[in-house]
Amino acid sequence: MKDIKLVVVDDSPFSVTMISNILEESGFQVVGTANSMAEAVETVAKTKPDIVTMDITMPGGDGIECTKALHIVDPEVKVIIVSSMMDDEIIHCAKKAKIAGYVQKPVDATEITLMINRIMADEELFDELENLYYTAFKEAFTDTCNKFFKAVPEFTEEENKNDVQTSRGLSVVLGIIGKYGGRMILDMSSDTARNIATALLKQDSIPTEQMINVINEISNIVAGNACSWINKKNNLFGLRVAPPTAVYGDSITISKAELNTVTSVKAATTFGEIYMNVGFNRSEQNE
């Protein structure tokens, strides 16, 4: 594991010293300290820590407010709330403010070390998924096309933007569930879908329902194969795919998703263009 950098934020200089000492003795690098919200924002912007420990009571805004301010400067920074008080109300507020964890004062060295290591291990795991998933889905898509149609698609316009999309006419949505949740969308025109179904079923005038079944099945195979491949790389991901839901019509807008990582690509196939969009959420499931 890489060196873990922390900033300690507390209005009491005594607590700053105590917590900093505990962290340094536990092998972490304390790159800065702050006694107020303004100082905290400045220090985090300057030192780019992995984690901030934050007192719940801060002059110029409480720890939750301060965390929100820090997330504006650095959306990736993890915040651990350190507080002598720890009731349901605080935990509820902390969850809403995307706090990575909370420890009670007086800080126990073992407890905070475990928490920091767990947060960083999760970070690394998500980074691993981020590096793997696009390759997995692209390969699975290529492989499925190759097996069904003996032709390999040509991929263009690969993007990481999380934008609103206008459907081409038929969108298949598959929810992904596991250590991290996500979803895959395959989108195509109804002509493309019909061309695919006609080629596979070797018959003309296929009813819409049957056409959707074919596209659902192909989508299921692509997502299922991709997730299996990711799970084989690291079984901690434990990804599973929910059954497909197809959406079709003349006017469909796909809203911007609440995802931390998204990749989309256009695949030119012999049947027409297929747009694939895959993304995952950093927050763990059921938290």
């Binding site: 992904i176 929910a242 839901t245 995952f280």
Partner: protein
């Protein structure tokens, strides 16, 4: 579909909506429909896997979506079906589905849910299975639909 499963989706709605200040939400109707669902304008799809697998689709028109977003933002006036409104509906769908999982866990069914996908426009949704259960819920006398397309996994 098993009555207890359907009740869990209904209970989640009746439990969550008052938390945003919605007075007297109720279940208006329950019907079985085929897999073809005509969208009201806005549909949020949440995937489900575990002891049961399928999808739940929360569907409403844009006016209802704006009304819900307004409740969720503490009564703030919402005039546009914009990004914030869409985000609020995704968040609500996530909360409703997660709360349903809690109700179902009490009868021994363990489920996990996916990230919601929100779509809007004029379209038809095709459920995961042939039988879909439709719950019509009320919000201030307007309709909010819950379409449940689920099957048991052994």
């Amino acid at each position: 579909m098993n009555k207890e499963y359907i009740a869990a989706f209904s209970s989640a709605y009746l439990n969550i909506m008052p938390q945003f200040g919605v007075a007297d939400p109720s279940q208006v109707n329950e019907s079985e429909c085929g897999r073809k669902i005509a969208s009201e304008g806005v549909a949020c799809i949440v995937g489900i896997v575990g002891d049961l697998a399928g999808n739940v689709i929360y569907s409403m028109n844009e006016e209802v979506a704006k009304k819900i977003a307004s409740y969720m933002m503490g009564g703030m006036e919402v005039t546009e079906f914009d990004e914030i409104t869409q985000s609020a509906i995704s968040e609500l769908s996530n909360m409703l589905a997660a709360n349903t999982c809690i109700w179902l866990s009490e009868i021994g069914k363990t489920l996990d849910i996916s990230t919601p996908t929100l779509m809007y426009g004029e379209f038809t949704v095709s459920g995961s299975y042939d039988q879909v259960c439709c719950l019509e819920m009320s919000i201030d006398g307007l309709a909010f639909y819950i379409y449940i397309s689920l099957e048991e996994r052994n």
